[in-house]
């Protein structure tokens, strides 16, 4: 498959291979959490709270005596689900909005650009916190908040792509064949604009994982006992001296995942040779 070629190429570089391996591992954790986790994520064992990492509990236990490794494995599920769904919504909305704005231009474009530029200059965490204040706490609202927080980025990028692509000769050539806007947008512009937006979406997934964790740190997002890396760290801060592993392991899980996403994204960008197009926004 031609579509998989860049991925293959990306995996061939040492960075790409390493990061891809980590990502496969994380995704496997999320998919097969019940099989991989040695314990249930919500079974408390209060007398065994704050146990150091060891043979029975590889990463120790948390303040409720729950197995930290199992919770990190399940936490991958929460973090990835939130991040990937949020970014998917965001990418889909950004593609639509950006394509409309970029293709048709005019007052609609100016309005979209103004709003997008302004929200883009505000930190995602503030946008998400304000949105959650409006729509209330919980996993779904966190997803919505994150997706709106990143909407500006994808709208900008898509718009820039479309603006560049619509000057390509083949677009004019297709118009000259008598093609309508619909044909041009969906058969030519969007398919060609897709790659950088998807890669940017992939990179943003890393940021979204951090954002989800930060919201978890503020007590928003996944509700207990559902494990989320951010919420785990939030409650771990209270144990920082007696059970530092509670905060260190989820933090490492995030760092590792996000670094892997970034490195793999970089490798992919190189393989696809789209650095310029990503920067065009």
């Amino acid at each position: 498959m031609a579509a998989l070629d860049p991925i293959k190429k990306a995996i061939r570089s040492p960075r790409g291979a390493g990061s891809a391996a980590v990502l496969v591992l994380v995704v496997a954790c999320a998919l097969f959490a019940p099989l991989l986790a040695p314990y249930a994520y919500d079974i408390q064992n209060l007398p065994g709270a704050n146990t150091e990492p060891g043979w029975t509990h590889w990463m120790g236990t948390d303040e409720f005596g729950r197995d930290l490794f199992s919770r990190i494995v399940y936490g991958a599920r929460t973090s990835l689900t939130v991040a990937i769904s949020a970014i998917s919504i965001s990418v889909a909305a950004g593609l639509t909005l950006g394509a409309m704005a970029g293709y048709f231009g005019g007052p609609f474009d100016r309005a979209v650009t103004a709003v997008v530029d302004l929200t883009w200059s505000f930190p995602e965490i503030l946008i998400a916190l304000i949105l959650i204040a409006i729509i209330g706490p919980g996993l779904q609202s966190t997803m919505v908040a994150i997706s709106i927080a990143y909407l500006a980025q994808f709208t900008r990028l898509t718009r820039a792509q479309i603006m560049a692509l619509k000057n390509e000769t083949y677009v004019e050539a297709t118009a000259n064949l008598g093609a309508g806007h619909f044909h041009i947008i969906f058969r030519h512009l969007l398919p060609n604009a897709l790659t950088p937006v998807i890669v940017a979406g992939m990179l943003a997934t890393g940021d979204a994982i951090i954002l989800e964790a930060t919201l978890g740190f503020f007590g928003l997002g996944a509700q207990p006992p559902t494990p989320s890396w951010g919420a785990m760290m939030s409650s771990g801060t209270a144990q920082i001296f007696i059970a530092p592993w509670i905060i260190i392991f989820p933090g490492l899980a995030i760092a590792l995942t996000v670094i892997a996403i970034n490195l793999f994204g970089d490798a992919l960008i190189e393989a696809l040779d789209i650095r310029n197009r990503l920067r065009s926004s």
């Binding site: 083949y170 004019e172 050539a173």
Partner: protein, 328 residues
């Protein structure tokens, strides 16, 4: 071919007073500036002939090409195709008419969607026009099209980046011919190709014209190429037609046309020349020039030229010139 049987003396395309303005700025930051990319151009494109438009960058030749195909709407003036005023057509009618008028673009490298195979690119005209085809018909069509431009059907499965520039331009021509048009606008089809390939493409276009009875509007900056390929030549400068030469061998009399001619070095070391340096460079298209657009650079310019714009007048035999002091 329906157009081949039409009377040759009848003009296929008639352009009258065609003008197109572009404006830029006009926000709070910049004053609104208007340029006339094409300024009051009138021209007939005779059926079955090659009409050439020659000029340097910014002369409006590419805009003219797009106006003729109504890829852009004219600010003023009309384009009549086979007697039909394009401006009066509804989008649906215009779409139908596009089957009869097509374009070959300057840059073959970006003229095909990089994600499309050649086959898909060649079938797209039918898809866009809603021409239903069975799989067998489609295969036959693309085979015929690709062979017509001298490429092997093996290339149908290729992506554009796997083809050389010349091959891509051939695909571009095949795509333009897919709907069996009678009229082709060729917008500098060889400008980004090597000379050895340029000659191939010109040769191909010539053959296709004969074979299919096509009418061409050929746009180029290369006067020698235009004079070789075209039956009539229009010299444009800053959006205006400066001179219309009825035949390839007719000596131009406009000073600008001469400058163009002068700039062309012959491939013959025995015919080296000392060119007359033109003063200055092509003015900004936004500048408003009261008189002759070429006056500022013209060696023969007089006050009259700077004051009053010369009208395009017939010197006889269809040789038209817009100059107060034509060269002898």
């Amino acid at each position: 071919m329906d157009s081949a049987v039409s009377a040759p003396e009848h003009d296929l395309v008639t352009i009258t007073g065609l003008t197109r303005e572009f404006s830029s700025g006009g926000g709070l930051m910049t004053p609104r500036r208007t340029m006339r990319a094409v300024n009051d151009v009138s021209l007939d494109v005779p059926r079955g002939k090659v009409t050439g438009v020659v000029g340097e960058s910014g002369c409006g030749k590419s805009t003219l090409a797009r106006l003729v195909l109504r890829l852009l709407d004219a600010t003023a003036g009309t384009v009549a195709f086979d007697g039909i005023d394009l401006a009066t057509l509804s989008p649906g009618e215009m779409r139908k008419l596009r089957r009869r008028m097509q374009m070959v673009f300057q840059d073959p490298y970006s003229a095909i969607d990089p994600r499309y195979t050649i086959r898909r690119a060649l079938l797209e005209p039918f898809q866009v026009q809603g021409v239903a085809q069975t799989a067998a018909e489609a295969n036959a069509t693309v085979d015929e099209l690709i062979s017509m431009v001298g490429l092997s059907p093996r290339m149908l499965a290729s992506f554009p980046h796997q083809l050389s520039g010349g091959q891509k331009q051939r695909v571009g021509i095949a795509r333009a011919l897919a709907l069996r048009p009678s009229f082709l606008v060729l917008d500098e089809p060889t400008a980004s190709l090597d000379v050895s390939i340029q000659a191939q493409i010109i040769d191909l276009l010539e053959a296709l014209k004969q074979e299919l009875g096509l009418t061409y509007l050929f746009i180029s900056h290369d006067l020698s190429l235009v004079r070789y390929f075209c039956d009539r030549v229009v010299v444009m400068y800053l959006g205006r037609a400066m001179e219309i030469l009825p035949g390839a061998t007719v000596q131009p009399r406009h000073h600008y046309a001469h400058a163009l001619l002068d700039s062309n070095f012959e491939p013959d070391p025995t015919r080296r020349k000392v060119i007359t340096m033109l003063a200055g460079e092509i003015p900004s298209p936004f500048a408003t020039i009261p008189g002759c657009a070429f006056a500022a650079r013209c060696p023969a310019a007089s006050d009259l030229c700077r004051r009053e714009r010369p009208a395009l007048t017939d010197l006889g035999g269809g040789h038209m010139i817009a100059c107060h002091h034509p060269k002898d």
